[in-house]
């Protein structure tokens, strides 16, 4: 599979050799931004994204948001750092298609909406406080129009035992929180339905 990909890359390079590397790069980023890349390409692009490319993407995304009259998606810098870290990690991991459930890039490109169960994103433990989001610090939704609510899972399956204990801790808190919301906030059944649905689906992963 890896060989096939390099072959594809070589072909692509051959057909586009008239373009400079920079032009090609810009075109690729632009395609990514417009959601014109396939799932496989998206995964590869995110994997190989350099800091410079990410910054370029950020500016374009912001410009595109503003031009379309959207409020810029307030994705925090730390969130982005988490994404980059996760992508780095995936670079060293087995090919994503060998464990489709854990595929970060795929999970990310389809947005939080399809993710079942608690997705865990750790900010760097070296940093004492979570990085605060200021209005000037807005960075793009890296993955196109529907991915601003990206949820990341950078935990490996080996850590699932710890995750299980954490899940139980979390459940007790969810019960208490849902109870408060259903009784006090006027949302009523919504909070209960959210909780019951999460309970029923949490072990399905």
């Amino acid at each position: 599979m890896g060989d096939t990909m390099s072959a594809e890359n070589t072909n692509a390079d051959a057909t586009q050799n008239a373009m400079t590397a920079e032009e090609r790069n810009r075109e690729t980023l632009s395609a990514l931004l417009d959601g014109e890349t396939s799932e496989l390409e998206t995964r590869r692009l995110l994997r190989d994204l350099s800091d410079g490319d990410a910054a370029q993407l950020a500016r374009w995304q912001l410009a595109s948001d503003l031009m379309q009259g959207h409020k810029a998606a307030p994705v925090s810098e730390s969130f982005n750092a988490g994404l980059m870290a996760a992508i780095q990690q995936e670079r060293h991991a087995r090919p994503a298609w060998m464990h489709p459930v854990a595929s970060l890039a795929v999970a990310a490109s389809v947005a939080v909406a399809t993710v079942v169960g608690w997705q865990y994103w750790e900010y760097s433990s070296a940093v004492d406080k979570p990085a605060l989001v200021s209005n000037d610090n807005r960075l793009p939704r890296l993955l196109g129009a529907d991915a601003e609510a990206v949820s990341l899972s950078i935990r490996s399956q080996a850590q699932s035992a710890a995750l299980q204990e954490e899940q139980e801790r979390m459940d007790a808190m969810m019960v208490r929180h849902s109870e408060f919301v259903s009784r006090h906030s006027g949302q009523g059944v919504m909070a209960s339905a959210r909780f019951v649905s999460q309970e029923a689906k949490k072990d399905e992963k």
């Binding site: 979570p130 954490e166 979390m170 007790a172 019960v175 029923a200």
Partner: protein, 332 residues
């Protein structure tokens, strides 16, 4: 000619009158009235129905039973597809039936007025939201007022609500982000307002194991003297309710404090740092965010977790501004 004009006028008038008939039957209530009625109906009305809960591509079907029997409120919400999970309410007692057939009991909160927030909502709409009624729609074969609840800032989500014109029950609810995208949707697909429910229909099933989240007297427990302080809250959010609970079988209690602006809510939990290494981090499931942070104080390490339906950035900002103080130590 005159006749023709008259005929046209009469036709227009009658068409106008005809078109107006369904809405004239019920003048739109004020958004305030509608919210109040909605908050009341869900506790006072008897009903049963099927619901669909959608979050992205993930869908759940649920059954709800709700009744007031001898003045006591009963509710049962059952997950119908996939694994069985249930919430059963008997008055102030709440029972969660988990998919592994264990159950968790949550007793009433001591010292917390259960209707406090509802009363607040009834008195005034949270000024952080702009609320408008946007005509009528149909949900589950019933007529509903459509209501938009728009947040005034980026620190909270908005809502689209469909409220039954007859019973004032919320027939459909969507929680929407700042772009108007629904993060989740709950919708009745059938509703029976005369279900004639019996107490037996709310019986708690047999469980293989049971745990309870019991309230602990905060004045006698050392953790009761731990004070949580916030240096930043989104406008309109107030500390609403707090308690200290011990899970059966556990050594140390977990305290909680809920915060709400009347619509959105999050709860902050404080506990002793568990033995297994818990990392600072953030989880998200649909609109619910959970953020964990360790605090190192003189009297040891604490773990603070915020759970709520607020944007992740709001959670980050609130947690960054939290501090713990031991009132006992301060008093010495």
């Amino acid at each position: 000619m005159l006749y023709r004009v008259l005929a046209v006028v009469v036709m227009c008038l009658s068409a106008f009158a005809f078109a107006e008939t369904p809405t004239q039957k019920q003048a739109a209530p004020s958004p305030q009235q509608l919210l109040q009625e909605m908050a009341k109906a869900v506790h006072d009305r008897d009903f049963s129905g099927r619901l669909v809960y959608v979050r992205g591509n993930d869908m759940s079907t649920l059954e709800v039973l709700h009744a007031r029997i001898d003045g006591r409120e009963y509710e049962r919400l059952t997950h119908l597809d996939g694994k069985l999970a249930e919430l059963i309410r008997h008055g102030e007692q709440l029972v969660c039936v988990h998919p592994d057939k264990t159950i968790t009991r949550l007793g009433g909160r001591a010292g917390v007025g259960p209707l406090a927030m509802q009363d607040q909502l009834a008195r005034s709409l949270p000024e952080q939201y702009e609320i408008k009624i946007d005509g009528q729609g149909r949900v589950a074969g019933r007529n509903a007022w459509m209501m938009h609840v728009l947040p005034g800032d980026g620190f909270r989500y908005g809502y689209r609500l469909w409220i039954d014109t007859e019973s004032y029950l919320m027939l459909r609810s969507e929680l929407v982000n700042e772009k108007g995208q629904a993060l989740e949707r709950l919708e009745f697909i059938s509703l029976d307002l005369s279900p004639n429910l019996k107490v037996e229909q709310f019986a708690v099933p047999a469980a293989i194991a049971e745990q309870a989240l019991e309230p602990v007297d905060a004045s006698v427990h050392p953790q009761g003297r731990l004070k949580l302080e916030t240096s930043w809250l989104p406008d309109g959010f107030v500390a609403a309710a707090g308690d200290l609970r011990l899970t059966s079988g556990e050594q140390s209690p977990v305290s909680s404090r809920a915060f709400s602006d009347g619509l959105a809510a999050f709860t902050v939990f404080v506990e002793r740092l568990p033995e297994q290494n818990v990392q600072d981090g953030m989880s998200q499931m649909g609109p619910t965010v959970a953020l964990t942070k360790r605090f190192t104080e003189e009297d040891g390490e604490w773990l603070v977790t915020l759970v709520g339906e607020v944007p992740p950035d709001t959670a980050l900002k609130v947690v960054a501004g939290l501090s713990l103080s031991n009132t006992l130590r301060d008093g010495e």
